[in-house]
């Protein structure tokens, strides 16, 4: 268990900023540019943590609490997840509910920190985050139900195991749909294109970036770090399902890590190939995703 805890923390704290680098590098390559160094986010974080910060006179302690909760919660939530062949640190029946509500806690505090600035911009971002989560949450639960139904287990540790069913069986099709849905949820929850553009600033259609507009210095660093961890967490959900089960822990771990990084590459490709959707289209895509996950559930229950 201690080894598992160590691995979880190492992966989350050490590897998470790399994903952002991979995404940016892939985008740059597809766009014909050289792009930033792979480790750019590490440099950014190191710089931000050394800086002082500017804080608005309007804000209260909640403004400072947002980044803290934003980094503590993904760390805790990760402990509930298996990482490849490494089992979850904490696992019990029904921990999927805790997982979802822990992420809800992080969202709640991020939203409040944004509203604490009193700026309309950040209010808009907060409203969007809260609204879109109404449409994302059902999809997450349907996917979890599909996985729980297949695994016969309500713990994330038992649910997120490599796919065994053939892809031409109902279970296999349901699983593929679930993976597609998880990927779309990854894009939505981590504010990637086509839901949100992490690279723009001061665009009226932004969600996450606009919520953290007033954070600076170490607080901004914490937010970026927390966001990177959340991205890693979402990617590991999918990688757990896609990874091969060879039986050799080392091989499995390597394959798991490779798939996680490949998923970052896939995000980069999606971002290169698509433009951000108009805000009004975002709910439609999210509802479509929910329907897709429903299809998976119906296939399974049929």
């Amino acid at each position: 268990m201690l080894a598992s805890l160590f691995f979880h923390l190492l992966l989350l704290l050490g590897l998470s900023p790399l994903l952002a680098g991979i995404i940016n590098r892939v985008k740059a390559k597809v766009g014909g540019r050289r792009g930033q160094p792979l480790l750019q986010l590490y440099f950014d974080l190191a710089k931000l943590f050394r800086k002082r910060m500017v804080i608005s006179a309007t804000t209260t302690w909640l403004f400072r609490a947002g980044p803290v909760v934003g980094i503590v919660v993904p760390l805790l939530a990760a402990l509930l997840l298996p990482l490849g062949p490494v089992p979850a640190v904490i696992s019990f029946s029904g921990d999927l509910i805790l997982f979802v509500y822990l992420l809800g806690l992080a969202r709640f505090f991020t939203i409040l920190a944004a509203l604490d600035t009193g700026s309309s911009f950040e209010g808009m971002g907060a409203a969007r985050e809260a609204t879109f989560s109404i449409l994302v949450e059902p999809t997450i639960f349907v996917v979890f139900i599909v996985l729980a139904r297949l695994a016969g287990d309500f713990s994330l540790n038992g649910m997120f195991v490599p796919v065994r069913a053939g892809f031409n069986t109902p279970a296999g099709i349901a699983m593929s749909l679930a993976i597609i849905c998880l990927f779309i949820v990854l894009l939505a929850e981590n504010c990637r294109i086509p839901f949100d553009d992490p690279n723009t600033h001061l665009e009226l259609t932004m969600i996450h970036e606009v919520m953290v507009l007033d954070h600076s210095g170490p607080d901004l660093g914490l937010i970026l770090y927390g966001a990177a961890m959340k991205l890693l967490l979402s990617a590991t959900l999918i990688a757990n399902l896609l990874r091969p089960a060879t039986g050799s822990p080392l091989l499995d771990t390597l394959a798991f890590l490779a798939i996680t990084l490949l998923l970052a590459g896939a995000v980069g490709l999606v971002e290169s190939a698509m433009a951000r959707l108009r805000l009004i289209r975002v709910p439609q895509l999210l509802i479509g995703t929910s329907l897709l996950s429903f299809l998976a559930l119906i296939l399974l229950l049929r």
Partner: protein
Amino acid sequence: MPNLTPFFCYQLALGVLLAGALLPPAAGRHNRLAGILGAAGALTGSALGLAGAGLALLDGGFATAQWSWGSLGLNLCLRLDGLAAFFLVPVFLLVFLGALYATGYLHLPARSYQGARHWFCFNLLALSMALVVGAGDSLLFLLSWELMSLASFFLVIFDLADEGAKRAGWIYLVATHLGTAFLFYMFFEEYRLSGSTEFAALTVLTSLPVAGAALFFLLALLGFGTKAGLFPLHSWLPEAHAAAPSHVSALMSGVMIKTAVYAFLRMVTFLPPLPPWCGLLAAGLGMTGALAGIALASIQNDLKRSLAYSTVENIGLIFLGIGLWLYCRGRGLEVAATLLLAGALLHVWNHALFKSLLFFGAGSLLHATGTREISRMGGLLRRLPVTGGLLLLGAGAIGALPPLNGLISEWLLYLGLLQAGQGSVGGQAFLFMFFVILLAMVGAVVLLTMSRIIGICLLGEPRSPESRVAREAGPAMLTAMTLAALGCLGVGILPGQVVGLLAAPLAVLAPGAMAPNQAGLPFGPAWSAAALLFFLALVALVACRYRWRGVDAGLATWGCGFGKPSPRMSYTAGGYSQLAQETVYCVGLQPTVSGERRQDLFPAAWQWWTELIDPILARGFTPIFARITSLAASGRTIQSGQLSLYFTYFFAATILLLGWAIFS
């Protein structure tokens, strides 16, 4: 005292509460004296009752007492068992907190009858709620039920100068009596079948045929559902709970409507196994109400209305649990049934705790700013730090965020639904899974609603001059809120122990069912330690970060280069929920928009306003009642007011009766 049994404590509490109701009027116009007498009665009475109910819950025993007046044919019966004790605990707890809060909240002139009036009604409400839960026969039940309705009605219209409150009180009075009509019919039928008013004699109902049982079930659902605020019978609730003084709102939202849940459960124990559609009907109404209630809560401009709609949501969740328990039991889904019932029961406690906390907090904000409008507050966390912090905790609890109490009861509901879904196939499995998904959606909208209340009321810049000068609430109000908050935290940190307390009510409702703690719940010492550690670590981390130096403070929020931001530019409550309202919610929940934009060559004044309506009240009940009124008015044509005409009626009626007597 030789026999200080829980039941004796309970009876003593009833006596003290009665004294607390009768003494303040003796104080006449001395508001201070009336306040002291009334509060003392309420506080000691509820403390006694809390001790009695708590002890009764722990030992799970059964006690009963009877008073008969043979000459009148009256036979009143009190009884206290595990189920009643379970509901009496929040009743007495909230009466205690409400009375404590009221001592700081009520600001009355030195001499008026208001103090006497308030404490008379308040203690009568407390007494009647305790009697409703402890009643052992239908006569005492109906008497105290009626007393409860009247006492709460007079508390709703406490501020007689407030026209809105009077209208809300009127709607409440009509609604609650329409609901009670079904109850009268139900109890008459029961009396006809059993030949006794006592609940103990109702065991004969278990031999009813299915159709008869379903009839009783429907009557109970209609009658008690109206009082509980079950969708679509909830329309009175947001009106009355918003208009009442805040501690009364807390009492009504927190426990008064739960007495209807209690009575509903009590009725169900007398009925034979019900057809499956009964459970599904209750669950379906509950889930619809949860979704509609929270969606409406998220678009209200009035803070207390928003909280009241959230009560509709929580009652919906409770009925979801109860309905699916009825459906699951006897269908091979016993574990799921127990989990769902346990979730519903625990949610009764949890909702009493966090909703009273939120209503108290809303009262303090109202007290400090003089408005209930969310968009006129703002920046209040800075000005009311303790109230704000406690409100934040209450919002987290209602949002089911770890490590607070809301998560525990929702956990039981989720797990029950998942177990039921896992244990069944086909359409039935899909049904349960669908409920899980809707529950997840409700959870997300609760977060939207709560972040809106906290974010707009407490954060940002003050949006009105009154909010700018708002002051922290007094010690009595803060103590009441802190106690409720500690309850929220306590249930979240010690869920295993609290779920263990459900054994007594479960023994009454589902005899022979397994204890929920054996259903694979993770609520052990490890959970408690982790939850406590998590909470303390979070508080410590935030405190450390807050004290961290290296901050250049004192600047304005960055306004994208705009140098002079004003509070009028900040985000409003309406703006915050607009996106959800327009893209997620169904058309029926949209507010009505009136007025038009003039297209003219020259500028002119024009009006354009939106009106938030309760869709059921505006499109359902109001047209029906208007139709009844117009029908009744058309009957008035035969009443011209001329004496000769009435003599003609007499004459005609006599002739008709004579004819009937002769020819029949």
